[in-house]
Symmetry: C2
Subunit: 679 residues, 2 copies
């Protein structure tokens, strides 16, 4: 049961697809205080767990910190970061009461979940205009599902998007790209996509090609496509202020950009220097911005990642002038404790400074709205522009699309990646913990940069990240590091190859579970408590996940880890894989286990009476035969599995012929080379 | 067996107290390459573990990262920090071979432990002048002990230093201090020390008192002392450049300061603005600097913490001018990607910039030595100056002394704290993992700032940190946070009180184990592998520690943790304490367990046939009766425990009458209120 409460006069976020009447009662369960900002308070039991809030720092259970929904570009994701790139305003309270809560707000919302007071959940909105939805249900899964039905079906990527992707902010020339792809092929490591970071553009101008480095860009795209490898370019939000640059010229002429207080096009610094932002909160501008993507689709591109769309602001003249003035004021004096740190602080706070959100305006249906009031809508609508355009330009085939900035609602158009993580073990763990909460907020196609984007990775960290990444729908190795982190750049190339082959082999299961989760409004990644609600210990487990209907994972995420504790909420079968042809299957009893896991091993668990269908890997998903399947399973007698499969790109997904029944018996599972006849 | 190898002409570090002849063979076990910098390489098996390197980031097993011994002030201890405040150049390889390795070097040493190549341990020295000691022994403990015998007996603090200490960079006036102490007393929370951070000084000038805020400083010290509470002031390394300030005037007159390349007193910015550094590498200057401490001892002070002695440099004119010039160069142009990040980087790299270490010089026995060649000796010798002075001024009584900057050798004069950690859960874990490695390097009296120094803590994090801190010899709550983090500042004051009472009750055991470890050159905190060398799983455990001879701890260090996995290498007794009068004792079998641990509970484990003597707590250690002891134990028949106890301050420690035999039987342990007659 969903109840909707309205406060003030909210700007529509277009998040909700179902019409829910506004309830005129006082809000239930929460205590509302009408101070300068409205606050909603809920008193938690020691036993209460808070799930959700999507892409954020810290554990699966969000208690113990304050999270602020304010899409923010920031490179160091330390434990005290309140905001990442997303505004995912949905959470579920699980304890003495089970309750789903969604703040449908365009502005900033903050969640103090037991930080200030250990048992108080305090929600504060910067602006007093929003809807709140309270969702009650039979259990956690039911509440989550009701929410997903409210916000509409999640984006489903093409099947090749489940292949392995290689990226690095470093590849520039055609030879660079050819060399990378060639090395993957020579090392027989599967690869489905190679990424174009900002250097492929001319002067970092979105929708241009650097012809000096990529004179035959179209041919290169085609050449790779013939090998089954997709090129995926980045698009940045900031449009460079430069006469002669077609997007700028047309944008100025057609009045597409956000305005400053004087009505001039708002200017700030991003990658290319001074930029304008397209006012994508206006439908017409969104359509116009979406049209720009045709430039890339025409060149054979069928996958895009949208970046810097929080929007990221490196600097404004206002902030720079403050810093310069302070230098002028202080440079001839002896710096003391206060002046020194003030000066340093002024420079370190130039970027992503929320004060800059007050400097520009949107035109929403003729209404002038200051950016900070609708900040979280920006990245969402920029990516929505792309998603809507792809439906126009590619009505048959799905296009790969994922975004850094995001808000719930955008999940219908796009996936997300978790942004500029670092080559830190704690970020591998964070990535594991983010996945189920991101799924709860509707983003099923997601993943973190394997090995870490910033800082230098090392072989063991990358190996463990890859072993977890086998299960993330988006499996991309991306970095800005000095150190090469392609999978052939380390000592144990063969082990990396084995792991990527395992990923490819599992694509039938992963794709089937991903699409089924999208179609049935369920989660692909789940905390254990969603499947084992009454299990006290399962509720406390923060480092194991359910993946689809059959699998539980317990990744190794610690430096020098050669084993780990695992809790089994019921009897399960442990699969310990070194490669597709070299693995152990061990039945384990419900309870606590310490599992030794070698550097070259990936483990996972199969639930009783469940199977994992798999296929023979190939160097690309295109070259795989998805009609010949094998089965790993933990089956007593005979079970039935519903496999979703299709051509891999049709937009018309929900067709009966895409659903196939697989019957597996104990013998099938014991005889691993027997082909499963599923059609 | 210890072998000493010499390279170049090392400057004496005064670390070694034993005379070991120089071996003229080629170094064993390592491959030496004589490139521009010497490199020593050791090939590790997958099974090899590296213990040691003292105060550093990351796990107990140091594999997988590069650590640089370069004492460094830096506030954000993120996973990619190569250096903290210490130069602890000792480690033990444990695997196919067991080998202790000590680099006795005054300069920078870097340890690439499988980061660049997963199986290669590569050691590089910036300067080719050092001794290497290789230590072989019967087992890990034996190797560790041989090393400790080589470097001399660890510092032993007075007994009151094992009490609970309260600190915050915020207390200024006499009323502030009185108020804090009063609140502890009113809440009946034991307290032995309150700290004076930099604000107690006049203009941050070491060895001065801010008389505006503290007009009756001496009386305040006395007033607290009568209540059993010690005031512990900070001393900073930088001496403010200010005529009329006696330390500056005398230092200039007597030529005590480090020189720049032109022979002028080297000047750089720290807390008070421009400062000079006393050249404590010169014995005469060290004596002079030590003499300054009499100023504080004369006022009744009997505990000091030395800070900023890496030495910390906020800025030099050289670095500032580079930054200002860049601003001049860029301010009139449009900033692009490169210029913008260059400018920001210039300001963020002002502090603790290693380039500044090349700007000043020491006079070592008449030899002019550039600072970077002997950088790691600085903090060591500044604290040594204090330690040596305390022996002169207080020949009977031990004085509390601990330092931020450190190097092995300083362990004979002082303890250390782990510097400016943050209110991060990962830093609680780091603190746990640092302790055994810091002990291996000779620093037994140590601990981290409970609750975290920077960032805002919360009640649960502080609670878990306190529950771990019960076992750290230095148990200090210190912060610079906006949020009050005194133990009465949260909801569950009673639980904090219970935990501090448990700490006080255990002081007989903690003090006994600390002093015995110092006298016998053993570790107080040990990784499990040191006690259970042949246990494969024990070698992998990174979050449990042995504390003294009887206890194993398994702290809760995760947000919302209400339980954890624990590995018992043998049968043990679990003690789950809510307070001294409310606890469970449960015998558990060797193996893997999941232990539920409430927010209000502290757990630890007692080894078979071991006991933990304890006393009744009081509001200060002074008011405790250490002659009336009780026993917690896990005893089958009867066992004997050697208790060290003394008056708590005598310097003449190793006296037979300080060692007492306690005999405990099963009945004693079962009857917890029975007084143990140990004399």
């Amino acid at each position: 049961m969903i109840k909707r409460y309205r406060y003030g006069q909210p700007i529509s976020t277009d998040t909700i697809v179902k019409s829910i009447p506004i309830c005129d009662e006082n809000i239930a369960f929460f205590q509302l205080e009408n101070k300068e900002k409205m606050t909603f308070t809920y008193t938690m039991d020691d036993n209460d767990i808070i799930y959700g809030l999507g892409e954020n720092m810290r554990g699966i259970n969000k208690r113990g910190f304050t999270y602020i929904s304010r899409c923010m570009d920031g490179a160091k994701h330390t434990e005290d970061r309140n905001s990442l790139y997303a505004a995912h305003n949905f959470f579920i309270i699980d304890g003495k009461k089970q309750l789903g809560v969604f703040f449908d707000a365009a502005g900033i919302v903050s969640y103090d979940i037991g930080e200030t007071e250990i048992d108080q959940l305090i929600i504060t909105c910067d602006d007093n205009d929003f809807d709140i939805y309270l969702i009650e249900g039979d259990n956690l899964k039911d509440i989550a599902k009701q929410f997903r039905q409210l916000i509409g079906q999640s984006y489903i990527p093409p099947k090749w998007a489940l292949g392995y992707h290689q990226s690095r902010w470093m590849y520039k020339t055609e030879d660079d790209f050819r060399n990378i792809v060639k090395q993957y092929q020579e090392n027989q490591i599967p690869l489905d996509a190679i990424y174009l970071d900002i250097d492929y553009m001319e002067d970092y101008e979105s929708f241009t090609i650097n012809r000096e480095n990529l004179p035959h860009f179209e041919e290169l795209v085609q050449e790779f496509k013939e090998q089954g490898v997709h090129m995926v370019p980045i698009i940045d939000a900031g449009i460079k202020v430069k006469e002669g640059y077609h997007v700028y010229d047309e944008g100025v002429k057609q009045n597409r950009f956000c305005k400053d207080k004087d009505g001039k096009n708002f200017k700030c610094g991003v990658w290319p220097g001074y930029c304008h932002f397209v006012d994508v909160l206006n439908e017409d501008n969104r359509h116009w911005f979406g049209d720009q993507y045709q430039f890339l689709l025409d060149k054979g591109i069928d996958g895009i990642w949208n970046d810097m769309n929080e929007p990221s602001i490196f600097y404004t003249d206002e902030r720079l002038n403050e810093a310069y003035s302070l230098v002028d004021e202080l440079r001839d004096s002896e710096l003391n404790l206060f002046t020194y740190f003030k000066m340093r602080g002024q420079f370190s706070k130039l970027s992503s400074n929320p004060k800059d959100y007050q400097l520009f305006y949107h035109d929403i249906n003729g209404q002038k709205v200051r950016h900070d009031k609708v900040h979280n809508l920006y990245g969402y609508n920029l990516t929505r522009a792309a998603g809507e355009a792809f439906e126009r330009f590619s009505p048959e085939k799905r296009i790969l699309l994922f975004s850094r900035g995001s808000m719930i609602g955008m999940h219908r158009y796009s996936g997300i990646w978790t942004g500029d993580n670092l080559a830190w073990w704690s970020h591998l763990k964070l990535c594991i913990q983010q996945m189920p909460n991101i799924n709860l907020c509707g983003f099923l196609y997601s993943g973190g940069d394997l090995g870490g984007f910033g800082s230098d990775t090392n072989e063991e960290l990358l190996m463990r990240w890859v072993q977890f990444g086998i299960f993330t729908p988006l499996m991309r190795n991306h970095s800005q590091s000095q150190r090469a982190q392609e999978l052939y750049a380390f000592k144990h190339t063969e082990i990396f190859k084995n792991m990527i082959e395992i990923r490819y082999a599992f694509i039938p299961y992963l794709y089937s579970e991903l699409v089924k989760a999208a179609l049935s409004d369920e989660s692909y990644f789940r905390p254990l408590a969603f499947d084992y609600e009454d299990d006290k210990q399962a509720r406390l487990i923060e480092d194991q996940l359910m993946v689809g209907e059959a699998i539980m994972i317990a990744p190794i995420y610690e430096q020098n880890g050669r084993g780990r504790f695992v809790y089994l909420p019921e009897n399960m079968k442990l699969i310990r894989m070194r490669s597709l042809s070299d693995y152990d299957e061990i039945e384990l009893e419900k309870g606590n286990h310490y599992i030794h896991v070698g550097f070259n091993e990936m483990i996972f668990f199969i639930k009783p009476n469940h199977i994992v269908p798999f296929a023979k890997p190939a160097l690309t998903t295109r070259d795989m035969n998805f009609d010949e399947l094998y089965v790993l399973g933990y089956v007593q007698d005979e079970i039935e599995y519903t496999l979703y499969d299709d051509d891999g790109y049709t937009r018309d997904i929900n067709q009966p012929e895409h659903f196939h029944k697989i019957y597996a018996s104990k013998e099938y599972c014991d005889c691993k080379t027997k082909k499963v006849q599923y059609r």
